[in-house]
Structure formats: C-alpha cells, structure tokens
Amino acid sequence: MMQQYQPATSHAPLLEVDNLVVEYPVGARTVHAVSGVSLQIARGETLGLVGESGCGKSTLGRAVLQLRRPTSGKVLFDGQDLTAMQGDTLRLMRRRVQLIFQDPIASLNPRRRIGDIVAEPLMIAGVKDPAKRKQLVDEVLAAVGLDPALVVGRLPHEFSGGQCQRICIARALVLNPEFIICDEPVSALDVSIRAQILNLLEEMKSRFGLTLLFIAHDLAVVKAVSDRVAVMYLGRLCEVGPSEQLFAKPAHPYTALLIEAIPVPDPDVRPTETVRVGEPPSPIAPPSGCRFRTRCPRADARCSAEMPELRVVAPGQLVACHHPLI
C-alpha cells in the first residue's frame, strides 16, 4: 500500500493521489478505467507513468486535473483536495497545473494565430495589459526555442509536429505553473524530434522548477526523463520504483514484458518472442484477482482468486504481484 512509501524529500508531496477510481458509464455497463490508484509526487520530481494504450493513463491525468470528476478517491495538490473544489477555487488551483497532449497539431486551434494561442491562458487568468501579455508570450516562446518575431503571426498548420509541440509547451508554461502533466508528448513524433522535445522538457523543468507527471507507453522514453516510474495495467498500478532500479530489477512480470518490448538498436540482440502474447482484456469486465493474469506466464490459482496489493519489495520499490520476479 502506498502509505509505506516515503517520498524523496522530507516535505509533503506536491501531488498525492489516494485510491482514485474513475469509471465511464457506457450504456448499462461500466468501463473501469482507473481502479484504485494511489501515488505521490514530490516537489521537483518527475514521475513517469507507463502502460499500454487504453490502460487509463490519460484518464488518470484528466482526473487529477478534475477535467473528469473521479468516481471516488482524493487528489491532494499542495495539501488541498481538488475533488472537493468547485468553481473559482478550482479554476485558481488549475492555473498551477497544466496539461500537454499527445497530438500537438490537433490540440492547437487551427484558426488562431500562435501569439493568441499562447496568450490565451493569460487572458483567462485576467492579465489585461496587452504589453505585459506580449512580453510574457515572447519570453516563453523564446524559452522553447522559437523566434517570437517569426511565429506569433502564423497559424498552426504552418508548423511541423515538433514545432507544434514546442508551442503547446510554451502555452503550458506561460502561467508559470508548478506542475505539468505531459500526456504522451512525444508519441506522435519521430526519433530526432522526440529527442529535441525530451531535452526541451528537461531544460524547462530545471529552469522553471517544475514537477512533472510524464505519461508514455515506451519505457525507454520514460526512463530518459523520470526519477521514478509507475507502471499501469488495465486501471491499476503494477509497480512503482526508482527508474534505474526498476530497469535493473523489475519485480512485476508486466514491467519485464515492457522492458523486453523495447527495440534495441543492436543487431546482435535478437528480439525474443517469449511473453509478449495477447492484448489487454476489456476494462468493461476486467479479470478477477490480478488483472494481468490472462497474459502472465507466472499466473496460478491464487492470481485469479486474490487481488495483489502494492507492497514494498526493495527500498522505494513497490509491486502488486503474488509471485514477483525479485
């Protein structure tokens, strides 16, 4: 259970998610998108969140921001419960938390000029002085490596995917937030642009003193930027731990599968065809007990009868598995 976890600093965590449940009704049935997730992120830390498509990563991110109200559970940001907040209080709080999406082009309004897109959060926040707005927009565009003079008057379609992602990052930074949720910010980008954007996020993080929740489906990408990694499967956390430790000694069979799936740029490393069978089952009727059991090579009777809880296996490393690898 998460209460056993001690954050890296002695301070209270900036974000604390406690037993969060998010469900979507579909007709008479229910999609169990997030089912009891608890995690903590210390100020200044980057927590990576990794898992396959549909496992609930975006839902979790949106529920943290209260863009989707959770079915139950708490989201404490800087000690205050966002799930209990409404209206203006919530809006004020949200300024401190921003979101960056996977598809940079789709998340920019195609009819608005870049200068207006980046200034929009300032307008909403009530920065009335146009000169002040322009100054802040120019600063933040320059910070993400764009020349304000060249970009403010142009439209999103005039930019490549990588440039659009820079613009999205600028828009997220303009209100000087403390916390950014990056939802697969590089999944739609090719290798070279991906490296540029990952470096940019790292640079912005130290420059603006940010705390990040970094969502991706590729463990190699997640490891490049994260202090700790949380692995998610079908709405539940499988494993949480310091990045290097998790790679060196994964405790959960699913973490091991994700590591094995990373393409290695070395022809002598033959891709193995072992455990990567099947796809995740439907979140409408998740398997009993351990949700990973239908794909797990170690599954036994106990795994279908009893749901494994997160418990400590090594310092700072927690796993939810009856038969962990370590």
């Binding site: 396959e52 498509s53 549909g54 490549s160 995917g161 990588g162 090719d190 290798v191 070279s192 642009i193 991906r194 490296a195 540029q196 990952l198 470096n199 790292e202 489906h217 590729d218 463990l219 190699a220 990408v221 490891k223 490049a224 930027v225 994260s226 202090d227 990045s243 290097e244 790679f247 599968l257 994700l258 590591i259 094995e260 799936a261 990373i262 393409p263 290695v264 740029p265 070395d266 022809p267 002598d268 490393v269 033959r270 891709p271 065809e273 990567r276 069978v277 099947g278 796809e279």
Partner: protein, 326 residues
Amino acid sequence: MLSVENVAVELPTPRGNLRAVDHVNLTVGAGRTLGVVGESGCGKTMLSRAILQLLPKKAKLSGRVMFDGQDLLQLSPEKLRKLRGRSLAVVFQDPMTSLNPVLTIGTQLIETLQEHLELDQATATKRSVELLAAVGIPAPEQRLTQYPHQLSGGMRQRVAIAIALSCEPKLLIADEPTTALDVTIQAQILDLLAREQRRRHMAMILITHDLGVVAGRTDEVAVMYAGRVVERAPTPALFKKMRMPYTEALLAALPRIDAAPHTPLPAISGRPPDPTRPLKGCSFSPRCRYAVARCHAEKPDLAEAETPAHQYACFHPIENHAGAAA
C-alpha cells in the same frame, strides 16, 4: 525480385518543384528484408508509392522499377492492378488506409481472395479463418462478422496484414506498420511480419524512423535523407561501423535503456531542408557536426566502403565506430 533503378519522383507545388525521391537505387531479393530508415518527410512513403505505382496523379516519376522480371513503369494500368492485388502487397501505418470501414472483416478478406485467387465462397471463407488465425487473432470465426472499428489498433493492423498476405505476395512493403502502436503491440506485429516473411520466403521492405526496429529484423538497411539514400549496408555491417554522420546521429537520438535518467539526448538540431529548395552541397550539411567548406559546396555521391555492399554519401565518413553511438 525487386530492383529500383535511378528512381526519382517530382511533385509540382505552388512553391516550385518538390523532389521527394532523388535518384534512388535499391534491390531486394526473395526471402530478404530491406529496412528503409529516415526522419519524417525524407521520402520513404513516396519511394514505396513509386514502387507500387500509387503516386499522386501530378507526380513525375523517372527511372526503372523491375519487379519479377517486368518493368512496372511499362505495365498497363490493368496489369498493374492485378499485380498489386497478387504479387505486390502493402501494409500502411494507419490500417484504416487499407480497410473499408463499412464492410465486415470477413467480406473484405473473402472478396480479396475471390477476386485474385478465384476461390469459391466456401474455400475463401475457410482460407480467411486460417489467415486470421495465422496473424494471431483469437476466435477468428467470430471476427469475420465484425467491422474494423470494433477492433483495437493492433488487431486492425493484424487484419490489414492478413489481407496483404492473403494472395501470397512475392513482395510486401510495410510502411511504418507499427508507428501508431504501443511498444508491446509493435513487438508482436514485427514478430508476426518476420515469421510470415520467413515462412513464405517473401521479399519485404520494412520502413521506419527507428533504427532500433530494423536492427534485429532486417538483412540490409538503406538510410534515406532528403529524398536520397545516404547510406546502405548489410545490417550487421551498418551497426558495426556506421559511416554516414546522419546514420550515427539517428542512432544517438534514441533514448538508451542503459543510460541514467536525465542524460541529455544528443538530438539532431534543426529540421531536414525544404525539399522545394534543394541545397547545393550535402543536404545534411546544415545539421552535420563534421561539416567542412566542401560539404556546403558539393554533393557527395554514394561511395563504397570496405565492401561494395556498404555504400555511403559523405566526404568525411566516420572512421572508427565502436558499434554504439558516441
């Protein structure tokens, strides 16, 4: 099996002529896999569309494409259509490009089989079930009545592969077949393609922007940049000793699982040149860290390395490469 000789593709645009493919030479033998690697926009898709003769109407194509003893550029549209259904198959990044959203999986497979192999309904149905099973789709009989939108992205790509394989093609072109998918599903689809390629002794072209994808899964690699092949080698030779700075830079930009978190990635700065404004010198020169005056003035031709099979276009090839990125 396939030999691409001096193929060039030009597209008229309002900004001037765009040279998408610039005098490319390639060969793929039966039972062999060629990887084509490069950043987005470097001409990979246009090259595969040139081979398939599926270019936009206004495109100007020159050169020769010899396939199975015939020059595809000389064939009648009718003959070409027949060939594309039977001997020459393609799988796209977005499986919906090749699937019809309003027809069931079964109808699409059965119609393809009936049209090209002239099978009767019962035999075609039986063959369809076998094909779906071969590409790893559980409960294939039930899938026949489902529509593409009822399947996950990975399943749809499997169906697209089943259709591509249905007429026993001699050459399969897979254009970024896994770029839209998760790492785990990517690994499954790449395994599937490799298995079917070996079993059928097909020739295959695997297009990707990720050198990690081609490393363990191809016999030969061609690296493309700004419409040209800039390095070409048997896969082991390429990874053992890369010659072209661009290839090295593409490899270095990949996040490495053995690197510590927060290690800055050696990203390639900037973007490829505007294809309507070709450079006088080496097209990689504005981004190349080894560039000297000559690189900006003259275009390097493809030259031979130790063996004729290893070619590169560079005035200052990397001499001592240890196999991994510097």
